[in-house]
């Protein structure tokens, strides 16, 4: 494998890790506050559709972006209503949200665009375009000719959409928010022992809704990126299990922001390499079934969960609705 191929793989890794990372951090905020969320997938999907639909209708990707976040927030509110206000089962609520998003997106897409549940293809200002850094080369054919540093700079550093850079920044931001601010302390506390937060005079419901809200925003960004950054338009079920991979990454990361970055890069890399069977074959000398690469994140997660490689301890109050007790 030559240097450029490696760069291409890493470049694809970054692109593919971005939605995973955003969704993973979304899950992190929610679960750190004690609300399990297997509805990441549904929220991303809803956001992906809404962002593409609105971007296509208005011609502005930013309007679409905000609309996508709004759609994701709506589903977050539903999850909050079910699991916080009405103390329902968080897992069941998540399952329902995934189905709801999967069904509604196609239903609305069909009624709006009549294109079999997809949005029209986006182009120009209706999608996020790569940002070229100063001095960077845009086209592969030019990059191929350049020296290794220029290749590295043009291929890996430059040429991503703004969301990719944003996602990278979310990691330190999340870390800072969780571990350096009052809000973070309270949020972590409410996921460990909501009664402690309650008796300290802080609203458990408020905090949990805030966390679920942050989760909604991040999922919204992740979904909007899928349809307006990574691809040019919405197709049905386009999240393709990314919400679950993000969940797997979250467990892998033991609910910590920096580890989340590493886990998502790993899973992104697995996805990237699964696209390049030729590279694997040339490096290893034999063919690996793509199906194996596809499920490697899931298998790794099961191994982690089984405690064979380090133990993942979820937030203690996670999954349980808060009911006041003596």
């Amino acid at each position: 494998m030559d240097f450029l191929t490696l760069l291409q793989l890493l470049d694809a890794t970054i692109r593919l890790a971005t939605p995973l990372l955003l969704a993973c951090l979304a899950g992190l905020f929610s679960e750190r506050a004690g609300i399990f969320d297997i509805g990441l997938e549904g929220k991303m999907l809803a956001a992906a559709f809404t962002a593409a639909a609105v971007a296509s209708l208005t011609g502005s990707v930013w309007v679409g972006f905000l609309a996508g976040i709004f759609a994701s927030l709506l589903l977050s509110a539903l999850h909050g209503l079910a699991s916080i206000t009405f103390r329902g089962n968080q897992l069941i609520s998540g399952v329902a949200i995934n189905f709801l998003a999967s069904g509604l997106t196609v239903l609305i897409a069909q009624s709006l665009f009549a294109q079999g549940g997809r949005t029209p293809s986006l182009s120009g200002d209706a999608r996020f375009n790569p940002i070229q850094w100063p001095g960077a080369l845009a086209r592969m054919r030019e990059i191929m000719q350049a020296g290794p540093f220029q290749q590295f700079y043009s291929e890996l550093i430059s040429g991503h959409t703004i969301i990719v850079y944003l996602a990278v920044l979310t990691v330190p931001a999340s870390w800072w928010l969780l571990y350096r601010t009052r809000f973070g302390l309270r949020l972590r506390a409410v996921g460990e022992n909501p009664a402690a937060v309650d008796t300290a005079g802080i609203s458990v419901v408020g905090l949990r809704f805030a966390a679920v809200g942050i989760c909604g925003v991040l999922c919204g960004i992740a979904g909007a990126y899928l349809s307006t950054g990574l691809q040019a338009g919405f197709v049905k079920d386009m999240t393709a299990g990314r919400g679950y991979i993000a969940l797997a990454a979250l467990i892998f990361a033991k609910w910590r922001p920096w580890y989340a970055l590493y886990a998502c890069l790993l899973f992104g890399f697995l996805q990237a390499i699964a696209l390049r069977g030729d590279v694997i074959e040339s490096v290893l000398g034999f063919r690996i079934q793509v199906q194996l690469l596809d499920v490697l994140p899931y298998i790794l997660t099961v191994i982690i969960l089984a405690g064979f490689v380090g133990k993942a301890i979820p937030p203690r109050a996670g999954g349980e609705p808060y009911v006041k007790e003596r």
Binding site: N89, G103, Q110, Q291, L305, A306
Partner: protein, 371 residues
């Protein structure tokens, strides 16, 4: 004092939840510019209006009975088995291997063989997450989700690389031999002189599903094992006190659950397609969750809920054919049913409990006032 009479819990709450889901679904249909009443008519007609329609409705219902029972058995042990989809997929693999590689002289024997194969494969696929839950404390919800994906990939691999006949373009097994053909309703009813639509896929595995209902009922409410499963499900600490082994209950209940989910393949793989294709389960594993929630984890309730979802699926398919409403409407309705009967249960329950409390108080104070 009971907060609420039993019938309210078992009948009234699911009905109200269902009504809420129906109203919202109607609004969704209205919002996409169609007439909900007309849609309802088409769905009812398309799913129950003819023998052919019933043939499909019962076919779908058969799938949902199996997966609903699977979810319910696990629920009784307070485990949330989201892995029905993967277990049913593996069950399909079991059925395919059994039908393709063993020489069966008659369908009845093939059915017995397939029951064992599908149950064993499904059970195995549930047993791994169960073992990890029991012995290593891995959350069963997460592991079963992961196992759904792994099952899909495994099936994909098997179909593409192992079972696909040479030269075929489709990732599917060859057709099963004719001796494994399960009689469908038309073939079953013909000897009785009853005519049934020849094309409809409902088949003898519907009867197997009914037997499974009875089996689960007896297991849960009449046997020691069922008693232990329920005790464990209600209180793990009490179960330990009573000498009920958590490991045993988790393993056994998940094995039964997986076996039931796997047996769904009798219907869709052996009974209908007569070969194994990709995504043969079509989400039935997930519908089992809705069915179990609506049916209150009781086999009779599950039977009714599965019929309801059968109507919904067949009606939805017809609806998407006759109107421009995509078949995904069914997913939306399914989501709303899960939401209201599962996650938003308290939204319906709490006001209802208050109502019954008030009624009871009224009854009690009334005679006093008369004194």
């Amino acid at each position: 004092m009971q907060k609420m009479p039993q019938w309210a819990d078992v009948v009234l709450i699911p009905l109200i939840s269902l009504l809420l889901a129906a109203i919202l679904s109607g609004l969704v249909i209205l919002a996409i510019g169609e007439d909900p009443i007309n849609a309802l008519k088409i769905m009812v007609e398309g799913s129950m209006g003819s023998k052919y329609a019933w043939g499909y409705t019962l076919y779908y219902a058969t799938n949902f009975i199996f997966t609903g029972l699977a979810v319910a058995v696990a629920f009784h042990a307070r485990m949330f088995n989201i892995g029905g989809e993967g277990q049913a997929t593996l069950g399909g693999l079991g059925v395919a291997l059994c039908c393709l590689y063993l020489p069966w002289p008659h369908w009845s024997l093939a059915l017995l063989g397939a029951i064992i194969a599908s149950a064993a494969f499904g059970a195995l696929w549930a047993l791994i997450p169960a073992y990890l839950q029991a012995k290593r404390g891995s959350h069963i919800v997460i592991t079963t989700i992961m196992f759904n994906f792994i099952a899909a990939a495994l099936l994909n691999y098997m179909l593409v690389s192992v079972l696909k006949p040479a030269g075929s373009m489709e990732p599917a097994t060859p057709k099963f031999p004719d001796t494994t053909h399960l009689p469908n309703f038309s073939e079953m009813l013909a000897p009785l002189g009853i005519e049934f639509s020849r094309g409809a896929p409902a088949n003898v595995s519907f009867l197997v599903a009914l037997v499974a209902c009875v089996f689960v009922w007896a297991l849960i409410w009449r046997t020691r094992l069922g008693y232990e499963i329920r005790a464990f499900g209600h209180s793990e600490s009490a179960a330990k006190y009573a000498g009920i082994s958590p490991t045993k209950i988790i393993l056994v209940s998940m094995t039964i659950s997986g076996a039931l989910a796997g047996m769904m393949a009798l219907n869709n793989v052996m009974g209908e397609a007569e070969r194994l294709v990709l995504n043969a389960t079509e989400g039935a594993g997930f519908i089992g969750i809705a069915v179990a929630l609506m049916g209150r984890s009781h086999p009779f309730g599950i039977l009714l809920a599965a019929l309801l979802f059968g109507v919904l699926y067949q009606g939805g398919a017809i609806l998407s054919q006759d109107t421009t409403i995509p078949v995904q409407l069914v997913l939306v309705i399914q989501a709303l049913v899960i939401l209201f009967t599962g996650a938003l249960d308290n939204m319906v329950r709490v006001p209802l409990e208050k109502l019954f409390l008030a009624i009871n108080k009224g009854r009690k104070t009334a005679p006093k006032a008369a004194e």
